[in-house]
């Protein structure tokens, strides 16, 4: 074997260390938790919560590719999520039967539309300054919502499209019991989505650690400098936008498979985009894993805060002021959000990474 340079030796050591670190085992534990949710918490609410955390974690990570890793603020990211959801819903819910082939075609059509639209958006908008790009994408996203609402003959308008799933993904499908848990179509859909989400997440990690990913981060830090080094930054930014949007589209299709419908409010709305932004801020920009922390924070808050009033009533039946305060759960959510931003200015994962980096002395090679 040829003699290795110090840099090569250092890289080899880093690779070996990667699978023995504490964070690696923490990631495995989180994955294991998602796998075991149906067995540990066998209720639809728990399963629904776990799945939404999973989908939104990957959606936020795909948004992080744009904002956290390339420095592009796009308000149109959820529009691509909607394209995925509507494409699947139209193909198996409105214009076709619920078959596997139609489901696959739904995803392929969605990816095709997204590729074309993402390219047009990047070519139209990357020529303008960052804030104008954000405004252009917001306008396009708003236009998509109007289209989905007004073209009711095609999209079902505000009611959207309801669909049933093919074969093993059908809610009524049942394979019997395993370890005391019914193996239904919903459970199979859950695991299918888990596998795809995991694949997409690993793909994104590979993407940001590739040479192209490093150039994206260089553009985020100092675009003119990246250009002066020799990179066509416009092309790199376009690739980043297209990649992030394609991931978002696949997630939209998966989400529609889970909820069984697609309407403007659930898959295209600006409030969903704001949720994604909040998750990104809470989790931490430029961390990828921040999406998981942000999605868990928001989805838990959305699921459990509205029940706080009942919880307070059962614990303290006579405390009317407390009941009234708990009824305004959005206020509590706002306070929680401010506290997270205050104590974790770089987001939960970003702040933890900073803390660990400070503790660790930079190794020499």
């Amino acid at each position: 074997m040829a003699e290795q340079t110090p840099v090569q030796i250092f890289r080899r050591q880093e690779r070996q260390k990667q699978y023995r670190s504490g964070t690696f085992f923490l990631k495995l534990a989180v994955l294991l938790l998602f796998i075991l949710v149906p067995f540990l918490f066998p209720s639809f609410k728990s399963l629904d919560l776990a799945l939404k955390i999973m989908i939104f974690a990957v959606l936020v990570a795909s948004f992080d590719i744009l904002l956290g890793y390339t420095g592009i603020l796009s308000f149109g990211h959820v529009m691509f999520f909607g394209i995925g959801a509507y494409s699947v819903a139209l193909l198996i819910g409105k214009y076709g039967n619920p078959t596997y082939i139609n489901l696959v075609i739904g995803f392929i059509v969605a990816l095709g539309i997204t590729s074309a639209l993402a390219l047009i958006v990047s070519f139209l908008s990357l020529r303008v300054k960052a804030i104008f790009f954000a405004m252009v994408t917001l306008a396009i996203a708003e236009f998509a919502i109007i289209l989905a609402t007004k073209l009711s003959g095609f999209t079902g308008g505000e009611d959207g499209i309801i669909m049933s799933m093919p074969g093993i993904f059908k809610v009524s499908f049942n394979m019997g019991k395993f370890l005391g848990v019914e193996i239904t179509g919903r459970l199979i859909t859950y695991y299918f989505i888990l596998v795809v989400c995991l694949g997409l997440f690993l793909l994104m990690i590979r993407f940001i650690n590739s040479p192209l990913g490093r150039v994206m981060q260089a553009i985020r830090d100092n675009e003119p400098r990246a250009e002066a080094i020799g990179y066509k930054t416009f092309i790199v930014k376009s690739i980043s936008i297209c990649f992030g949007c394609l991931v978002s589209t696949i997630l939209g299709g998966l989400y529609a498979m889970w909820v069984g419908y697609a309407n403007p409010e659930s898959v295209l709305g600006i409030p969903i985009m704001l949720d994604v932004l909040l998750m990104e801020i809470v989790g931490g920009m430029g961390t990828l894993y921040g999406g998981l922390a942000g999605a868990a924070f928001l989805e838990f808050a959305h699921s459990f805060l509205p029940d706080l009033q009942n919880f307070a009533k059962s614990l303290f039946p006579g405390a009317h002021f407390l009941h009234a305060a708990m009824e305004r759960w959005l206020l509590i959510f706002g306070i929680l959000f401010i506290m997270v931003v205050f104590f974790f200015p770089k987001g939960i994962i970003g702040s933890v990474q900073d803390f660990m980096a400070r503790r660790k002395t930079a190794p020499s090679i």
């Binding site: 985020r220 100092n222 400098r225 080094i229 020799g230 930054t233 430029g286 190794p363 020499s364 090679i365």
Partner: protein, 239 residues
Amino acid sequence: MSETILKTEAIHTFIGQHHILQGVSFEARADAVTVLIGRNGAGKSSTLKTVMGLLPASEGKIIFKGKEIQSRKPYDIARLGIGFVPENMGIFADLTVEENMQVAMLREDAATAERLESVLEMFTALRDFWRAKAGILSGGQKQMLAIARAIINDTALLLIDEPTKGLAPIIINALIDAINQIKQHSVVVLVEQNFYMASSVGDYFFILDDGKVVHSGAMAELVQDEEMQSKYLGISKSV
């Protein structure tokens, strides 16, 4: 006389309404360090940025290795073999030193790996902070990283903008050694206000004043000419 690798012919550059360069002509010869000197606002940094394509030249020609490059984009100019170290160093603060170097490597071949090793020999501090975020480096280390990034590729011409700005004298001496090593295999055009640095590494000089070249010649002549140093560089005459 050695061959000319870079030549600008009467370049004019505007920043907004301001006519910054008003016909700058200079040349950089192979196997030499050419220094652009002058007071603040004379147009030195703008000259380098115009050569690099970061500021558009409204008139004039920029000829690199016999090719006109004034209408090319910065990424094209970089890929012709021109490295640029800007005044603010332009490091990628959120990337590690290693990632900064990887981004700068336009090719990942054996020659680049060899250059990386020799660059790390030259700037040993980078080796010590290899996995640290570049943002935490000191001013001198950032400057070393900026220069290391610029010479990691097969650079025929290196443009360095005020590398000594805000650095301690001991670091300046290290930079002088580094530039003397770099000049063995690359042509260097240096913008510098620190006359000690300029005279230590420079072979030829061009003095800029109000967007024009007002004097040029061999550095050895300028070192002797206290009158010119006082008039254009604000250096007081020795008593």
